[in-house]
Symmetry: C2
Subunit: 364 residues, 2 copies
């Protein structure tokens, strides 16, 4: 990769639907949900073949940064960009672009979530390289994921005509972005064959996205100019927090991508991608046994007439026995036990909401 390419890891979210393992203090990306490494560590490792550590940036909040520095000490301190408070992905993207553009006028960057899983690392690297080539032509590039089911959990991207020019990988103009659809609508989108899931992975030059922000979100653009000019000076933190405070909370999809003109998509199949969005996602990324069961983290599972059931334990001394259990997720932590039908895993969010409402903060 060129010396002007950078990776920016976005790590602000909570991962409510992976409660009770994901907690306020230790959100999803900082947990070893899949194997020994945390999702954040896997994300960093996945990038280190392409980017040197000083070309990997992390945008996050201070509460999480402390743990991240421990988990990925190879990333230099100045590459941690700390939001004074969460202001949505549009601000995050702009912040990283402004800092990188000040550092390197030719910077190009890949924006990547900290908490996704990708099985096929080689293909991922190939796609990133291809996307950076497209980005050099002034495009806002997004990686689409070829859908495998009519999911209502993701936004969709409809592709248009192939992009003019010679590229390493089939690349298309984006016709439109579609917000999370109903189940029926998702089925229709799937059948057209020209829709991808919006993975939240973007590739562009810093100047391209900054120009687009100036056009579409001028207020954010102005704040970013203030931040950039103070960056590297003594007043850096103060100026950041002053300008950050008033920002409108907005996503990059809605705030920028949906109305941008030069947007391209690389529809990727076979990445083995998962956003690990909820407990049922683990069936996509971990290998089940012959009966479809998965025992992960520290767990001693005795499965008797049990099928398609995930057990996430917390101690190899504690025996978890299931009898006549099908299609279930069992998560056993120190202070909470959760038993959830796999196809109801999205409702974990409702339970978290209920606990919040009833002041059961100690379990959150």
């Amino acid at each position: 990769m060129s010396e002007h390419t950078y990776a920016v890891i976005m790590a602000g979210g909570g991962g409510t639907r992976l409660w009770p393992v994901s907690r306020k203090e230790k959100p999803k990306q900082l947990l070893p949900l899949i194997g020994q490494e945390t999702l954040f560590q896997s994300t960093v490792k996945r990038l280190e073949d392409l980017f040197s550590p000083d070309h990997i940036l992390v945008v996050t909040v201070e509460e999480q940064a402390r743990e991240m520095r421990l988990q990925a000490p190879e990333i230099p301190e100045e590459n941690y960009l700390i939001e004074s408070s969460p202001r949505g992905t549009a601000s995050v993207v702009g912040f990283a672009a402004a800092v990188l553009h000040k550092r390197d006028r030719n910077a190009a960057m890949a924006i990547l979530p900290s908490d996704h899983f990708i099985r096929n690392r080689d293909l991922f690297h190939y796609l990133l390289k291809a996307a950076f080539e497209v980005a050099e032509n002034g495009y806002l590039v997004t990686l689409g994921i070829t859908p495998t089911q009519p999911s209502t959990a993701y936004g969709y991207i409809q592709q248009g005509a192939p992009l003019d020019g010679q590229y390493k990988y089939p690349t298309y103009n984006v016709r439109r972005f579609i917000e999370k659809p109903s189940e029926q609508a998702a089925g229709q989108l799937l059948r057209t064959g020209d829709h991808s899931w919006n993975s939240g992975m973007f590739i562009w030059r810093a100047d391209t996205i900054l120009n687009e922000i100036d056009k579409q979100m001028p207020e954010l653009g102005g704040a970013l100019k203030n931040i950039a000019s103070a960056w590297g000076t003594e007043s850096q933190t103060e100026v950041l927090s002053e300008n950050w405070r008033g920002l409108k909370v907005e996503t990059v999809d809605y705030g920028i991508m949906e109305k941008a003109e030069r947007v391209a998509v690389l529809p990727a199949g076979g990445l083995g991608w998962s956003d690990v969005g909820m407990w049922s996602s683990l069936f996509e990324v971990l290998l089940p046994d012959m009966d479809g069961n998965i025992a992960t983290n520290s767990s001693l599972h005795l499965a008797h007439e049990t099928h398609n059931t995930l057990v996430y334990g917390s101690s190899n001394e504690r025996l978890i026995v299931t009898i006549g259990v099908d299609d279930m997720v069992i998560v056993d932590t120190g202070d909470v036990l959760m038993v959830c039908k796999t196809d109801q895993a999205q409702k974990v969010r409702d339970v978290v909401g209920h606990l919040k409402k009833h002041n059961q903060e100690k379990y959150l």
Copy 2:
């Protein structure tokens, strides 16, 4: 009740199917499975309105006696009859009869399991009184339970003609005892209308049962004579253990009742009886909420779209969340978590067998 009537509580068993709460060290009857009292304590309390504590005997093994003395200190020490090793219910019944007959030549006794539940205490008392009247005429009397389902977990008793004479409660000659039937056979028995479940509750005079033992199990009869003549002397324990060792392990049903001639049954409906034989039995004895759920022992249950599910916890600090769960039993102890489909509850026994076979004694 007359000064010659006694209650004998049989407490030897383990309650394997109530694992992982029922353990080798602390079997079913010594646990507070229903409310605050243990099943043994409830059994004693249920009898105390009819019998003074010195007319209540307990036959058990030494390992359990220690805990029982703590749980029911009102029962005098000499009323604990300790089997040197378990030899089946025929021996237990004979042992108690021999000791009581030596104490009181006119003794009549009710044999009662230590680990059953009876909701309707008044009816139970009424039936016992009625049964003692029948027993005074030289009958071996058994309380039958009117079946509410074609259960394969119990033996059945077929009634014959009504007993001659005037009795407080409809009383019948017993036509035959039937061992645990197949499901199909159970359905047929139920439809006849003249079969009861064999509850394991018997009422008779001590001399009646001792004569019957002499007739049908002469070896046991001989041993009991030796034990009785040494009872109350210095050699009591030695003689007991010598005579006990060689005894054939036999149930009172198979060894005595099935071939006895003067056997009577009082078929009881409405007792609210349960043998609390397995986890699913708790749905019969505890009151579920509107959704059919039960949270018992120490448990903090948050039920989200959950129905007919029992949660048996071990701490009010530990939150147990269920989402989209139906017809399940969840038992959460310190070292074992069990999640079991309610209609598979009898298979807990197989799991215990599996653990035994694989030397996982620490969980038993």
